[in-house]
Symmetry: C2
Subunit: 406 residues, 2 copies
């Protein structure tokens, strides 16, 4: 484990000098802007007086929940009551200083708040205005509330996970649509920044969670529907067992696609006679007899420990791994080698673990640039930067238009 990597290096990240005004809440927006913040963008999180929703969901230490800590690090925070015109005025004074303006309210809401694209663009002609939605701006679902499972249901993801025996669709137990939207939004914002850097032109970038998932699942999840010369027919759940095998003392995964890998697997399993078995001799035959092959494999793997099998499989260069519990991920030797988990002491929440940004830039490292902020931690500094007088600030705080950490 690595401690406080953000003080190890002061090299700027690839997005150094970019300022993002972030009005998003929950996951899809905040994780997107966190990626940008880790890459050096200055992200100003604009929060309502009560703090955004995720500050209130789950166990918290000093008012900071684990999800908030992991979706909002490296950011600054300003508390603004956008129902109060004085707070809207503060935001409008911040807008000309920003490169990117991001919001994920339901379609139409931001216009009713008086912060639609035309208003923002009048204040900052070249801003990149980003709207993240659940379903898109028009259509029968556009007005609806969204949670991650709704997108799992509509996008076909729950259908893909269908239980073969019962035919019941199943949810994935982690919020794939939310987080895939985050990464996709971060990419789109970055592409718009690149275009603006070349041409000076800002634009409106729109991204729907539903669209994100359809595009994301398409290449293989929808492979059956790629050829359009026949009507789309329903697919059953995967009849074949998945690649998780029980050993004497735990679970492992192992899979062989090429002939070479399959031959290695037969040797590792002490079943050399399977190599010349007609049912498994070619890649195609192994697909045709996949269910049988996996059942036969499972029977053999029950007879030794995970460590024994993994050593044998690795020796034969068969792709394989233990199925780790989440608690084991943190201390796995490969995770250590990658310095993937970072321990740090949050000034309020105490010792915390974070996963570092995944992509490594050798000249402009992405890194955790600071802890997730307390609500309004940067309000005073930001108002000062805008040239607000002490009397003005006092009035803003007293009226409740802004919230500042003491």
């Amino acid at each position: 484990m690595v401690t406080t990597p953000h003080i190890e290096s002061e090299t700027p990240g690839p997005l150094e000098g970019v300022r993002v005004l972030d009005l998003t809440s929950m996951i899809s927006g905040p994780v997107a802007t966190m990626m940008l913040a880790d890459q050096g963008a200055e992200v100003i999180k604009v929060e309502p007086p009560e703090g955004e929703l995720v500050r209130h969901m789950g166990r918290n230490v000093g008012g900071l929940t684990s999800v908030f800590l992991s979706a909002n690090r490296s950011k600054r925070s300003i508390g603004l009551d956008l129902k109060n015109p004085a707070a809207v005025d503060v935001l409008k004074r911040l807008i000309p200083t920003a490169d990117v303006f991001v919001q994920n309210f339901r379609p139409g809401a931001i216009d009713r708040m008086g912060l639609g694209e035309s208003v923002v663009r009048n204040l900052n002609a070249s801003v990149i205005y980003v709207s993240i939605s659940g379903f898109g701006e028009t259509g029968p679902y556009a007005h609806k509330r969204v949670y991650d499972p709704v997108i799992q249901a509509l996008s076909g993801l729950a259908d893909i996970q269908m239980d073969a025996a019962s035919g019941r669709p199943q949810m994935i137990r982690t919020i794939i649509p939310d987080k895939t939207t985050s990464v996709t939004a971060a990419q789109a914002i970055t592409a718009a920044l690149f275009h603006r850097e070349r041409t000076g032109e800002g634009q409106h970038v729109k991204l729907a969670m539903l669209d994100t998932m359809v595009a994301y699942l398409w290449p293989e999840g929808m492979a059956r529907y790629t050829f359009a010369d026949r009507p789309p027919e329903p697919m059953k759940g995967e009849a074949s067992p998945d690649l998780i095998y029980l050993t004497q003392d735990g679970y492992i995964t192992a899979g062989a696609i090429s002939d070479k890998e399959w031959q290695g697997m037969c040797r590792a399993l002490d079943r050399p006679q399977w190599i010349d078995d007609e049912r498994f001799r070619t890649a195609n035959a192994r697909i045709v007899h996949g269910k049988l092959r996996r059942e036969m494999t499972a029977e053999v793997l029950l007879t030794r420990t995970s460590a024994e099998w993994l050593e044998r499989l690795d020796h034969e260069e068969v792709p394989s791994a233990p199925v780790l519990g989440r608690h084991e991920v943190i201390d796995h030797p490969q995770i250590h080698a990658n310095e993937m988990i970072v321990e740090d002491v949050h000034p309020v929440a105490g010792p915390i673990r974070q996963a570092r940004p995944a992509a490594r830039f050798d000249r402009t490292p992405a890194r955790i640039r600071g802890p997730a902020p307390e609500l309004g931690a940067d309000t005073m500094v930001l108002l000062g930067e805008l040239g607000c007088s002490a009397a003005e600030i006092e009035e803003l705080v007293a009226s409740g238009a802004v919230v500042a950490k003491e």
Copy 2:
């Protein structure tokens, strides 16, 4: 459905003018570069003489498989036998023309091919050199072969999907690690392009599938392990049933988090007495009694059709949706409204469906710029651009160093 959107508009994408030399195969690399290609980058897919692996996996029409079509559209293709020094020489003449060089061979392999970073950078000082790996460059797994399920096992994803009753971890039936790596790589490459545009500096960007998944799962999948003041303990599978409910005629999802949503749900379900039930009156109480609440909800939902329930739930503004089969996704009214599925006629494979790029840029639209190429479709043109003489080209083709489509 929308037909041939790539001829509707000739507006440049946000990455117009960027040239990518793409040596990747399978999914993680190709889907990443396809995102860049849809956004206007010129992606040159460098393929071995037999074509990359995905050309040979699954049903094909005219030599084009569905996965290949959906992971390689908008690209050009050159066939190069990189075991042949004459082909390596061709690639080295292409390198100075590129902005980005991407490869996803196992660590060390690209150096043995004579195309490691220092070689490439000698030919093009400011190139962005991208290495996508399974596990990272060092550590006990670095040398191993990787498939998507191996990363699902090691990253905790299979643990998250654990079956609560049996305690057996489960795989997700779609290649989440591969595709999340694609989107993450596309974002990192775009950030490196932005930095280079500002400073002229290229760099080496490295991304491991394992790191991608740990970072991606972290915010809520690993929430329990964020606070580092206690040793990591194993987590059981989710005890609570998931949010999929059987109705009289199918499956729907519905969920209420806020008080307002819960009250709406009670009304939609004709169970107004649940509103004042102490077990469900606060958000926290509803979490504590989550299992019971879902079981009671399931019992009620069995009594009417999906359409009836969805209308009632929507009327009360409760987030809800039908659980669509993949074949239904294609024709769902919201997918139509979003113009998400594009039908086109591939010159070789015939009529095909694609999902358009998810993010919408109003000034520089991302769009499908052309069909997935046949192997070596652009070899002749690219050799011509490099100034190769007719005799030289003939020799390259005759020796098998390059493969060109007739």
